[in-house]
């Protein structure tokens, strides 16, 4: 049974679009949670890319899928910690506007 009629490139283009959307979100948004959502978008795009390559070709065997599993796990961990930080920031500053958390400014 054929897989699909869509070649690998279609998947890659899709992941590129998702990736760019995620980058745009990161760069543009003020709300920290929004930025986190952008990060998730990026990771997902990467995942799609990995799985596509792993499934459409056999470069590296199954390892692309395995990596996706890891990314999944780590994204979860990172999201948890980031949200905890955001909660902490909210509790301290009353808002989660990244533009105002600019103590690193020169």
């Amino acid at each position: 049974m054929k897989f699909t009629d869509h070649p690998l490139e279609h998947m890659l283009v899709l992941s590129a679009i998702l990736f760019c959307a995620g980058v745009y979100t990161i760069l543009t948004r003020k709300n920290a949670v929004s930025i986190l959502m952008g990060v998730e978008l990026v990771l997902n795009a990467a995942n799609i890319n990995f799985v596509a390559f792993s499934q459409y070709t056999r470069i590296g065997g199954i390892h692309g899928n395995v990596f996706v599993i890891f990314v999944l796990l780590l994204a979860a961990a990172e999201a948890a910690v980031a949200l905890a930080i955001i909660i902490g920031i909210y509790q301290n500053f009353g808002r989660v506007d990244v533009d105002q958390a600019d103590q690193m400014k020169d």
Binding site: M1, C20, V23, Y24, R58
Partner: protein, 321 residues
Amino acid sequence: MTSSEMVVNLLFYVFAVAAVAGALGVAASRNIVRSAFALLAVLFSAAALYALMKADFIAAAQVLIYVGGILVLIIFAVMLTHRITDVNVSNESTPGPAAFCAVLCLLFALVVIILPLPQPGPNKWDAGRAPETMREGPYAFVQYQADGKTGLANGGSTFENEVVVGVTIPEDRRAGLLRIVVRAVENPGKVKESLETKKAPDATLSPEKVRLAQEEARKTVAEPKSLEFAATPEKTETTHVRLKGLREAAYDWKVKLVGAEGESPWIGPKGDPNFVVHKGVTEPIALALADPYLLAFEAVSMLLLAALVGAAFLARKEVKE
């Protein structure tokens, strides 16, 4: 093209569009809750796409972890970081033109420039590639040089019960070649016990049916199947022989050349030319996690623990006297 195939093709578009829409929603929505739900759409679409790519385990994991864990967390955070009174939680964005342009450029670079770049020459990915071969994937691509001297063979696994064997025969020996026969023999030593043999009798089934199923599974194990497949030589150097209908087992394969003058003996490649046929990615992933990625797996588990503790600590509410 069967209707199911048409549906599958269409489904790709559907989920692709959904994912893109969701992504744009995350990027552009002014309401943070809306963007959170757009993210939900993206995640689900991604899972669907994984499933379409026959990465079943990953699809499930995606749904479980991302949607069920991370997205929920995000929505919790959204709720927690706004005053209750703010129903219309505003999610302003500073649409920096610089960022927008940069992102567009990135998209452009990725899609237009990088993607069509010619891939490097003959290698495992590229050799003898014909578009249709790609479409036929996923497959385990094995190369065999019929002169018997060298063999480029690697094993692999496929979660599709179709394996494509590529037989490369130099020009000077192709004269009078009629067909190429590939025989795939199940390797009993490597047959993994399928679930059939091990699974617990279904309580709903009658004991008879359970016994029959178990016997059939045992028979499968006991009797290694031997399948032969033939193909006419193609004009290119490499002839692809498709081995279809393979069960979930490990196979050895040999090649025979049949010519006008007679037949060559069964030639096996050097190395370990077995491949395993799987259905789905679950077993391969599990095998990979257990063997090469064991350390990483354990480390990630440690990391998860640390993240858990850290997040719990970071999000604590300070007790004010």
